[in-house]
């Protein structure tokens, strides 16, 4: 399960989503500017407040770190 915590104005979040789409990876996008509980959850799991945060089967990646995302999703 891939969850992306994002804000609507964050271009890096959109790039990340486009990248996952291009690799046919399904994800759930959560807009943390609209949902305070989800924002708190994002801060709790990542220990920080910047977006995007990506949760890949419980592995948390901060920012669009392509190398790490590729590793966790076995993408080449």
């Amino acid at each position: 399960m891939v969850i992306i915590y994002s804000t609507p104005t964050c271009v890096y979040c959109h790039s990340l989503m486009e990248y996952l789409k291009s690799k046919n990876i399904e994800y759930k996008d959560i807009d943390v500017s609209k949902d305070e509980k989800e924002l708190e959850k994002m801060v709790a799991i990542s220990g920080q407040m910047g977006v995007p945060v990506i949760d890949i089967d419980g592995n948390v990646v901060i920012g669009f770190d392509k190398k790490r995302v590729d590793e966790l999703l076995n993408l080449k």
Binding site: T9, Q48, K66
Partner: protein, 306 residues
Amino acid sequence: MTYDLIIIGAGPAGVSAAVYATRQKLSILMLSKDIGGQVAKKAVDIENYPGFEKISGPDLVDLYKKQLKANDLSVTLGEVVGIEKNDNIFSVKTVDDKEYKAISVIVTSGAESKLIHVPGEEEFAGKGVSYCSLCDGPVFKNKDVAVVGGGNNGFETAVFLSNYVKSVKVLEYGEKANADAENQELVAKNPNIEVITNAQVTKIEGKVFVSAIYYEDRANKKEKKIDVSGVFVEIGYSPSTNFLGNLVDLNEKNEVIFNSETLETKTPGLFSAGDCNVSRYKQIVMASGQGALAALSAYNYIRKVS
């Protein structure tokens, strides 16, 4: 495979270079860690780009993507960490240990946010300290925040943030904020923004997350504290040129020195365009123009050597 041309970066200069180079039928690889560069982080609308009365940064980035797609160009995501030139072929290495080869290279790596270098800045990066208000601003809904820097970027960031946060304090080192008249006016009439001049930021404090920023009032040398949850750093940019090694000459600001007629660096076949270059003004339209010039120069170079 060896490409005709590798373009490093995909901001205004990189996109413009790619569009021009593709019209010359060159085989092109665009390598960049993101698309849009600083345009993607722009907090307010762009109103000085020909053909657009007004356009937001993200919307302009979308148009870049559409134009690249229409020209069968795609951006390979990757951060470049080094370039070498051997036997007239450039090797470009990325952080994920990949290597790409080309006859010519255009560097449009742009610039990164400058740091304030005070205690707490590094410790709280991402924990209240942010360098991308457009990304992180909405996370600070109803909070008090500070913006460091009273230039155009600082004022534009303050205006953007005021849509979400409770209050914004802009801390400017100088006696006067340097933002242009239009931005000064926008800030002056915004009741949620206060500009504090003569303010030298001394530290950022917190437990897990930022809780306060301290500054010295340069007029009377007294230290003052403001309780904030967020600190947005907007004191300008420094060029991303470290990976270029000794293939280029840099000035004292680490900007690339180039031939003004061709944008070629001291290494034949290596061109440079946009905000990584020596220039007094950094503007989207100027970066775009340099991208085009670099592409045409690279085409001439490639034609000559191959």
